[in-house]
Symmetry: D3
Subunit: 209 residues, 6 copies
C-alpha cells in the first residue's frame, strides 16, 4: 500500500521491452527509454531557454519523469494498432487513464493523490513543455531505429520508425527542434553504417515533407 507500492512497481518497467520482437541487435526497456527522454528533454529545454523561452521546470520534470508509467497497466500496444482507428486510440487512452487513476485511488495516500494525478497524466499537450516531451519521445525513436539500421538491420519497420519520428519532430515548431535538425541530426547521418540502406537519403526525404 502507499507510495511504496508505486516505488516497487518501477522495477517492472525495467523488464518491459519496447517494440517486443522487433529489435534484433539490442532491446530497450521502458525504464531506460524513460531516462533517455528525461535527458533529451532537458537539453531541448536548455536550448529553448538559450533562445529566450521560459521553461516551467517543475512542469517539465513532472511530465517527463513518468511519461510511460501507464505501460505497466496497458503493456506495449504497438503503434499501428493504437493508430488504427481514432476510436480505438481514445478507448485505449481512457482505459489507461482509468487504470492509472484506479491505482492512485487504491494506493496513494490522500494528501498526494493530486500530485500523482498530475505526474501520471498524459503530458503531451500544446504547452512548450508538452511539446518538448513529444519531441524527446520521438527523438528516442530516432536513436533506437538508427542504432538498428546502423548495425545492419534492414527490416522496413526501422526505416519507417526512423522516418515517421523525424517527420513528427519536424512538424513541431520549436527552436530546439531546429537545433536538433540542423546541428545534431547531421552528426548521426554522418556516422558510419553497415547498412545498405541509405540513411542520408531517407533523412533528407523525411525532412523535405
Amino acid at each position: 500500500m502507499g507510495i511504496h507500492k508505486y516505488f516497487r512497481s518501477l522495477n517492472e518497467l525495467e523488464r518491459i521491452i519496447r517494440c517486443p520482437g522487433k529489435f534484433k541487435f539490442e532491446e530497450h526497456s521502458v525504464a531506460a527509454h524513460s531516462w533517455k527522454v528525461v535527458q533529451y528533454a532537458k537539453t531541448l529545454a536548455d536550448i529553448e531557454e538559450k533562445h529566450g523561452a521560459q521553461i516551467d521546470w517543475k512542469k517539465l520534470y513532472n511530465i517527463t519523469s513518468s511519461h510511460d508509467y501507464g505501460e505497466i497497466f496497458i503493456g506495449d500496444i504497438k503503434t499501428p494498432v493504437k493508430h488504427s482507428s481514432m476510436q480505438l486510440r481514445q478507448l485505449i487512452q481512457q482505459v489507461e487513464e482509468g487504470m492509472v487513476n484506479h491505482f492512485i485511488e487504491e494506493h496513494i495516500p490522500q494528501e498526494f493523490k493530486g500530485t500523482f494525478y498530475h505526474q501520471l497524466r498524459e503530458g503531451k499537450d500544446d504547452s512548450l513543455e508538452g511539446l518538448i516531451l513529444e519531441v524527446a519521445d520521438k527523438m528516442d525513436q530516432v536513436y533506437e531505429a538508427f542504432a538498428e539500421l546502423q548495425r545492419g538491420n534492414t527490416e522496413k519497420e526501422f526505416v519507417v520508425m526512423y522516418r515517421n519520428a523525424l517527420i513528427k519532430i519536424k512538424h513541431i515548431k520549436l527552436r530546439s527542434v531546429d537545433y536538433f535538425l540542423e546541428e545534431i541530426l547531421p552528426d548521426m547521418v554522418n556516422e558510419e553504417t553497415l547498412s545498405s540502406i541509405n540513411i542520408r537519403q531517407i533523412t533528407e526525404e523525411a525532412l523535405a515533407l
Copy 2:
C-alpha cells in the same frame, strides 16, 4: 512477399514475451507458449477420443498451431485491459482481425488465402476443438503461474493468474477437463514449493466456485 514472409515472421514470436515485466523467475516467449498449447491440446483431444468423442484433427491442428499469431500485430495487450470493457475488447479483436486479414491479402498467394484465413482466425468457439484450445491456453497459464509461485514469487497477480485460469478451465464441461482436474492438477499441487502461499488452498477454493 509470399508465404516466405509468413515463415520469416514466426521468428518474431520467439522474441515477444508474455506478460512483460511480471515474470521474475523465467519469461516465456509466445512461440514457446504456442508450442506448449499444441502439446496440451493433443493430450486433451486424446483423452476425449478415449471417451468416445470424435476429434476433427485437421481443425484442431488448424486452430492450435497459430492461435496467438495475431500478437505479432497487436503485441501483448494485458488481460485486464482487454477485459476492461466489452467495447474495447471487441475493438481490439476487430483491429487484430483486420491486421491479420491485411497481412494475408498483401502476402499470401491467392490460392492459399483461404487456408490462411482459416488458420489465423480466432479458434476458440463452442466446438469440441475450440473448447480444447481454450482449455489448453488456460492450462499454460496455470503452469506458468505455478512455476513462478513454486519458485517463490509472492506477487498477487500470479495467484490471480493461477486461480482465474483454473476457474475458467473448470467451467468448460469436458471429459478431458475432468481428467485434468482429477488426475493431473493434484500432482502439481503436491509438488514441493518454496512459497508461503498455500497453493493447495487456492486450488481448492478456485475449484469450489
Copy 3:
C-alpha cells in the same frame, strides 16, 4: 508422476538451445523450433492437399508436435557427431528410444502409454506425413542458417547448414517441396543481406545437385 510430469518437462525445452555455441546473432530454443516445424508442416500439408493428396491430420499432429522431445534426455548432440558413424547414430537412437520409453513407463498412466509411445516415437518415415515432417525440420534449418548469414555471420558452418538442408529437402519428392523451392525460397534469396557470402550462388549450387 503422471501426465503432469510430462507437461512440466516441456519447460525444459524452452531452455535447451539448438547448436549451442554456434549461433552468434540469435539463439533458438528447441521449443521455438518445434513450434515452427508445426507451422511449416501444416502449410506443406495444405499444399499437398491442394494437389489432391490425402493427409492423415491426426498422424501429422502426432509426429510433428513432439518431434524433438527426446532432446530432453539426450541433449543436443551435434549433427557431425550423430552422423560420424552409422553405428553411433543407431546407438544414440536406441538410447534415446530407451529413455523415452522408460519415461513413459515410469510416468504415463497405463491407459495413455500407447498414445505417448506413438507421440514420442521418431516420426520421420516414408509416409507422406513422415516426409512432410522431414522437410519441415530441414526448412527450419534453412531459415535459422539464413538468418545468421543474412545478419553477417560468415562462419562456414552456416553455409554448410544452409546448403545441406536444401540438398536434403530437394531429394524429397513432394509437390510441396517443389512449391517451396519454386515459390518460397526465391523470396528468401532476394532478401537483402549484409553478408559477403553469395547466398544466391550457394542456393543454386545446392539445388543443382
Copy 4:
C-alpha cells in the same frame, strides 16, 4: 561530435550493470537506476514542498537526470574501494571530473559547455536539492537490496547494502526522509519474504543508530 555524441553515449549506460557479480536474482543497469532516482527525487521534493520548502526544480532536474553519467568513464568502482581511503576517493573523483570535463571540451559546442558542466557535475551537496538526490540515490540502494533479500538472496552484502543505505538516509535531516521512514519503509518491511533473514530486525537496528 556535438551533442549527438552525448546522446549516443546514453545507450552505454543501458548496458553497464550496477554491482556486477553481486546481484543473483535481477541485475540493474545504470540507466534504469538513474530513472528510478529521478522518480524518488520527485516524490521527495513533492513532500518537501507540501511542508513548505522551496524547491529549485530546475536545479533538481539538473542534478538528478545525469547523476551517474560519469560511470561511462570510470566504470562501476565498488563502494568498498571508493571508500577505502579518502585519498583514493578524492583521486577517483578528480579523475572522473577530469574525464567528464574532457568529454565536454571535446564534444559539446561552446554555447552549451556551461550547461553540461552544470549537468554532469556532482550534484550531492548541502542544498535541499543536493540532499534529496543523496536520499534518492540511497533509496534505490534500499530497494535493490530489499528485492534480492526478499527473493531469498542470503549474501551478507545485501544486508550490509540495505542497512548502510538506511543509516545514510536516516542521517539526512529532511521532512521527506521522515516521511519515507515512517510511511513508506514500513510497507516494505511488511512485504512477504522468502528470506530467513529478519529484515524487520535489521531495519529497526539500522534506524536505532
Copy 5:
C-alpha cells in the same frame, strides 16, 4: 588455419552451457567451468605438495587447461546418456578423439601437433595429476548443484548431481580429497539455504557410502 583457428574457437565454449535446460537459477558456460576446474586443481595440488607429494605441474597445466575442449565437437551429451551403456560411452569417446585429432591434423602446424595431442587428450587417468583433474571436475559439479539447491531448486537431479559427485570424490584416495571432505565441505553444508532439502543429510549419506 593454424593455431589462430584454435584460439578463435575458444569463444564457442563461452556460449556452450552445461546441462542445458536443467539449471534454473544460473547457467554455467563450459569456459567458466573450465576455469574453475583449473582453480580447484591448483589448490588440490598445493595440498598434495604440502603432504609431500610430487606434482608434475606441466602435466597438470596440460590436462586441466583444455579438459573439456572436446565439447566444441560433441556438444554436451548428458551424463545419463554417456553412461547408459559402456559401448555407447566408448563410441562417443572414440568419436570425440577422432574429431579432436582431425582438428589438430587440419589446423595445427606440424611442429605443434604433438603438443596439442597431449593438451587435448583425455587427462583423467591414474596418475596423481589425472586424479586431481577428476576430483576438480567433480568438485565443480558439487558447487554447481549446491548453488541451485541453496537457491531453492528442488529438482531431484540436483540432489543426484550433488550426491553422485560427492561419492565419486570420496572414492578417490588422495590427501587433498580428505582435506576437501573434512575442511571445505563442512563450510558448504553450513551455508544458509532456502531449500527444504536437507543438504546436510544428503551429504552425510553420500559420504557414508
Copy 6:
C-alpha cells in the same frame, strides 16, 4: 570461512563483465577471459620451450590461473582511468592488494596463506612467465576487439583496444611473440570481415611502431 569461501567466490567472476557497456555483439565474463588467458599462456610457453627456454610451469600455473581475481574486490576499473595518473594507478593497486590480503587473512587457513598470497599476487613481472602472462592477457584483448570489429562494430575504442594491445605485445621481446605476430596474427587479419574498418592497415601500422 576457509578455502570454501574462495571457491564460492569464483562464481562471481562468471557474472562480472569486461568493459561493461562497450561490447555490442558479445560480452565476456572475467571467468571466461581468465580461462582463455590460461590457454594462450600455455601455447606461448610451449613455443618458448620449443626454442630452448626453460619454463617454470608451477609458476606459470600460479600466476595465470587467478590473474584477475582481484576484480572481485575492485570491480572493472576502465583502463583509461587506471592509467590516467601513475598516482591513481598505484593507489588502486595498493587497495586491490590490501583487499586481497585482507581476504586471505580472514578466510584462508594459516597453512595455506602463503600459497594464496603467491597465487593472488600480481604476476606480471620481468620473468619469462610474467611476460608470457602479459602477452596472453593482451592477446585476449586483441581477440575480443577483433571479434567486435569483425562483426561490424565501428566504435573507435575497439580499434584503439586492438591496436594498443598489439603495440604492447610487440614490445615484449619473446620468441613466442614473434611466432604470434608472424604466424597467428596474419590468419586473423585474413578473416572475412563486415567492417569498413581496414583491420589489415591498422595491424600494419601498429606493428610498425
